[in-house]
């Protein structure tokens, strides 16, 4: 089935990357390094989860990293200044902050009928500015150990951040791949007309999609905060593009209708492996950014070529 072709291409590319780095450096192929890749990719991975829903629905979300920063600041502020101590409450606060901003974004798209690109570009600035205002322009440091343990600690030998990542992907994979909600998102991304004509409440669907994407951005903010022990208003600059890159690498159609959480997961791994491998080979971060761009372009060319061939 041609729908799975980009997924297979992504898997092959991931295997190729792993093979190259395994030969290039002896430090690459170890369990600790694999965990390190997953752990480092947790934040971008969770952002990519949210981005997958939006792209599946034919939209784009440029605000996810800004929302992530805002959620991290709001949660850190509540932990430091408002007497919140329970990690579960902090987790929910981060997620709900993101969901609120995401829902607002969806509502604005519905009301203005403007493209999601424009609205999320505006929300990116607003979220980032709110984070800066609330934090007074500097990160909120010094969180309790029960919070930082969720970003830096391990559970059953596995980094806690990785568990958040995997949990996010499993939940999102279920929602997108196996429920009516996910089917409607994909159908709407495929043909808004078809979704409307079959009675799907498309405005509500858009609102829910952006709220869900915001929720995952909020969770990404929580994980970032727990990993860095800070609510940072400058957190994740440029992460939105990395998240979108991961989704596209994973075989999603940027115009909507086709997206796979498994593909996005592999896309996140591709980026993580690439950055990790280049770091192990002591290649400058400037070149790492260059390689990410090249990989994305290659993926686009490959997909175009294989589509023509079939």
């Amino acid at each position: 089935m041609f729908a799975n072709k980009p997924l297979i291409q992504c898997a092959l590319f991931l295997v190729l990357l792993c093979a190259v780095f395994s030969f290039a450096t002896p430090y690459f192929l170890s369990l600790d390094n694999m965990m390190s890749i997953l752990s480092a990719g947790a934040v971008i991975g969770l952002l990519a989860v949210g981005a997958t829903f939006v792209i599946a629905a034919g939209g784009i979300d440029l605000s996810c990293a800004g929302v992530m920063a805002l959620a991290s600041v709001v949660t850190a502020y509540a932990l430091k200044n408002m007497g919140v101590t329970n990690p579960a409450v902090a987790f929910l606060l981060a997620g709900l902050t993101g969901a609120f901003i995401g829902g607002l974004t969806g509502a604005l798209i519905n009301v203005t009928r403007a493209p999601s690109f424009i609205i999320t570009l505006g929300m990116m600035s607003i979220a980032r500015a709110l984070a800066l205002i609330l934090a007074g322009g500097i990160p909120i440091y010094g969180l309790a150990e029960n919070i930082t343990a969720l970003g830096q600690g391990r559970v059953f030998g596995m980094p806690a951040a990785v568990l958040f990542l995997l949990g996010g992907f499993v939940l999102a994979g279920y929602l997108l791949g196996f429920t009516r909600f996910g089917r409607h998102i994909l159908a709407f991304g495929d043909s808004a007309m078809a979704a409307h004509a079959t009675g799907i409440r498309t405005n509500l669907l858009k609102l829910k999609t952006f709220a869900l994407a915001g929720f995952f951005s909020g969770i990404a903010g929580f994980v970032f905060m727990a990993r860095t022990n800070s609510g940072d208003p400058s957190a994740g600059m440029g992460y939105e593009l990395m998240a979108i890159t991961a989704v596209i690498l994973g075989g999603a159609n940027l115009f909507g209708g086709r997206a796979h959480l498994l593909g996005t997961f592999m896309g996140v791994l591709c980026l993580g492996v690439l950055q990790n491998g280049l770091t192990l080979l002591a290649i400058s971060t400037f070149y790492q950014v260059l390689f990410v761009g090249i990989v994305l372009l290659l993926s686009a060319f490959l997909r175009r070529f294989s589509a023509r061939a079939s």
Binding site: M1, F2, A3, F178, T179, R180, F181, R183, H184, L186, A187, D190, S191, M193, A194, A195, H196, A197, T198, G199, I200, R201, N253, G257, R258
Partner: protein, 241 residues
């Protein structure tokens, strides 16, 4: 008892433009009515109003004497009015069963998990009942022929047996053999007592399938003829005069 759909003084304006003006008509079950007319006559607008995709500026629609309120296709679908759009409104990256069940997916009420096997089995049964042959149900709909896509769009409208079937240009982009398939499906549904209303520019198809032909002109009903008592020349005359 035969179903009936009644339009009472339906008007629709787009800004200052009066697309439909006081359209009144009654359609009964077991008959196929064709709406014909020149471009801009208001045929598709009238069809969309009957489907709930557009709200009338004024006027009412009654299905079996019950007024249909509400402004969305879901509301009309729930009351048994289905429409097959000219562009078919199919999700072309999705497979056949996903399109047939779009908006009506069967899912476990507890877990929300889609029952894909059940939907596929029902799709196979529906296609068999309607005489539609599609060899590869797992293929994305966009990879199928125009006739097969049209048949899927019609099959989707028949999934929950409707009272009214509306079709906008159902044969416009089809080859002769595919036209025959679509017309056979419509004849079969007429036998089942459906109210079928179609808009078409292909007057030969209209004459082949319909029981009566309504000509719309400048947003009003110009003529309503029994197909058996008319011919192509008269219909063309109605449209262009």
């Amino acid at each position: 008892m035969s179903n009936s759909l009644t339009l009472e003084n339906i008007s629709r304006n787009f800004g200052a433009l009066k697309v439909l003006q006081d359209v009144a008509a009654q359609f009964t079950g077991g008959k196929i009515t064709a709406l014909v007319g020149d471009n801009g006559a208001g045929k598709s607008t009238l069809l969309k109003i009957m489907a709930g995709a557009l709200a009338p500026t004024s006027g009412t629609i009654k299905l079996n004497d019950e007024e249909i309120a509400g402004l969305n296709p879901a509301h009309h679908r729930a009351r048994g009015i289905e429409m097959v759009y000219q562009d078919l409104a199919l999700a072309k990256q999705h497979h056949v069963a996903a399109n047939i069940f779009l908006g009506r997916e069967i899912a476990c009420p507890l877990t929300g998990l889609l029952k894909t096997k059940e939907m596929r089995a029902q799709t196979e049964a529906l296609l068999e009942q309607t005489g539609i042959k599609i060899p590869q149900l797992d293929r994305p709909v966009g990879a199928l022929s125009g006739g097969q896509q049209q048949a899927i769009a019609i099959a989707r409208a028949l999934l929950v047996p409707p009272k009214v079937l509306l079709l906008d240009e159902p044969t416009a982009a089809l080859a002769a053999k595919e036209v025959d398939m679509v017309l056979d499906i419509l004849r079969q549904q007429r036998e089942k007592g459906l109210i079928i209303i179609l808009v078409s520019h292909r007057l030969n198809d209209v004459l082949a399938i319909s029981d009566n032909i309504i000509t719309l002109k400048h947003g009003r009903i110009f003529n309503d003829r029994k197909t058996a008592d008319t011919n192509l020349a008269e219909i063309v005359q109605d449209i262009v005069s």
